[in-house]
């Protein structure tokens, strides 16, 4: 078993996948705490579908670095969704449902109309659920993912206090003069970035799991915001590594394996929380 693992680790793309995957898991868990508490989980879900549509466009255009197309489209949509959510006249959830299924249909249509490979349904499946075995990233994608996720972690640490304040009570923050709009914008942008990054790892349909599960696991057993944040990061990274190992050893699809481990972890935490009271 260890031999098999060792053999895999000698391939650079496996090491890349491991590093990037861990970083993405770390970022998404940090963000997850905020999104769950702000009742923004659905934004993550909607955005991941938009990212799928954008990916279809990038694939059809045969762009060498797909992120250049996907990232701006997703960030822009995130900002639009946030703005529409602030406007009481437009129903936020309906708008998001509309955008997300629209993007999904549009993306699938594009990929069928302009197939870039012989196996369209295989392509679609791996974009939705992540690659069937290990993810294959180009070295430029590894660099972009690495740098972006480190930026997200650094931003989170430095803005921790303000993010907490804005998440706990937006009205209070606004009343005492904190520029809430900027932080919401930042959160929306970071969400979009993480979703685009995580799409490589688990596929666009499973991203929400990566964002929501670790946060909910931590929340069901811990009582302080700091502890929840830290524990959620630890859970997420551990589950990602564990999922990777299983996926390598058993040859299961990496994305759904990680999510399955996350789900089991959530059930354990939920039970522990119930028992502790």
């Amino acid at each position: 078993m260890l031999d098999k693992l060792y053999l895999y680790m000698t391939f650079p793309y496996v090491r890349y996948a491991l590093i990037v995957g861990t970083l993405i898991a770390l970022c998404s868990s940090l963000l997850g705490v905020i999104l769950v508490l702000k009742r923004f989980s659905y934004i993550g879900d909607g955005l991941s579908h938009v990212a799928f549509g954008a990916l279809a466009i990038a694939t059809v255009l045969n762009s060498t670095n797909r992120m250049i197309i996907i990232l701006p489209i997703t960030v822009l949509t995130a900002i639009l969704i946030l703005k529409s959510g602030n406007n009481s006249k437009v129903k936020g959830d309906a708008a998001i449902a509309m955008i997300s299924v629209g993007a999904l249909a549009f993306g699938y249509l594009l990929m069928n109309l302009f197939p870039t490979s012989g196996n369209v349904s295989g392509d679609v499946c791996s974009t939705l659920f992540g690659s069937t075995s290990l993810l294959t990233l180009t070295s430029s994608e590894v660099w972009v993912s690495g740098v972006l996720s480190i930026l997200v972690v650094v931003a989170f640490i430095f803005l921790y206090n303000r993010i907490f304040a804005v998440t706990f009570d937006e009205d209070f923050s606004r009343a005492v003069g904190t520029k809430v709009g900027i932080y919401n914008l930042l959160i929306a942008t970071i969400t979009a970035v993480i979703i685009v990054l995580a799409m490589n790892l688990v596929g666009s349909l499973l991203i929400s799991a990566l964002i929501i599960f670790p946060a909910l696991s931590a929340m069901s057993i811990l009582k302080s915001f700091k502890a929840v944040t830290i524990f959620s990061a630890i859970i997420s990274v551990t589950c990602a590594l564990f999922g990777f190992l299983i996926s390598i050893l058993e040859g299961t699809p990496v994305g759904s394996t990680i999510v399955a481990v996350d789900a089991v972890m959530f059930m354990i935490c939920y039970l522990v929380g119930k028992i502790k009271g």
């Binding site: 508490l37 907490f164 706990f168 009570d169 009205d171 209070f172 606004r174 005492v176 302080s224």
Partner: protein
Amino acid sequence: MAILTAKELTVGYDKQPVLKNINFQINSGDYFCIVGENGSGKTTLMKTILGLLPPIEGSIEVGQGLMKNQIGYLPQQSDVQRDFPATVYEIVLSGCQNSLKGFFYSRAQKKLALENIEKMGISHLKNKCYRQLSGGQQQRVLLARALCATTKVLLLDEPVAGLDPNVTKEMYDLIGQLNSQGLTVIMISHDIENVKKYATVIFDVNKLDVIKTSSESDTSKEVGAC
């Protein structure tokens, strides 16, 4: 000395006026209470005073160089907060956000948070989780947070909503104490009977007029004490 003056003020959402032609003046040291039925527009008025909503017409003038970071606010509780995983200390400390320079809280700010926790008599709950506290304890936490944000003006939106009579009285006493220590209090309430005992000025949004002024307050305070 007026610290806040509303002139010909109209407030509402999305250009839809809820309350029109409001005029009042709040002086430094006042215990100013805005009363009215539920749904009469009190919270809309409070949000306009706080600058969370733009006035539709008229103006709110702020005197004596009152800055945003000298205002403390006790909002009505939202669903988000009811099950929020955070300790009392974390929440109270977040009241210092308007004096946060750089990225992290200073030692002085942490000390201020601890002092205010003690002032509200909740030191023993410092590391407890907010969502496990009783309604009255939660209000004390939010009051301590508001005190971290202000030394001058405290705005309270229905601070006793949902509290039982004993805890309500404690809360009013606490607010009264803060007022007597020099803090200007602006409070929203639908509980006119109780408010009469404590407030120095009462503004009724249904009549759009002041129904009680400081001059009467002394006598009614004595009545309240009986």
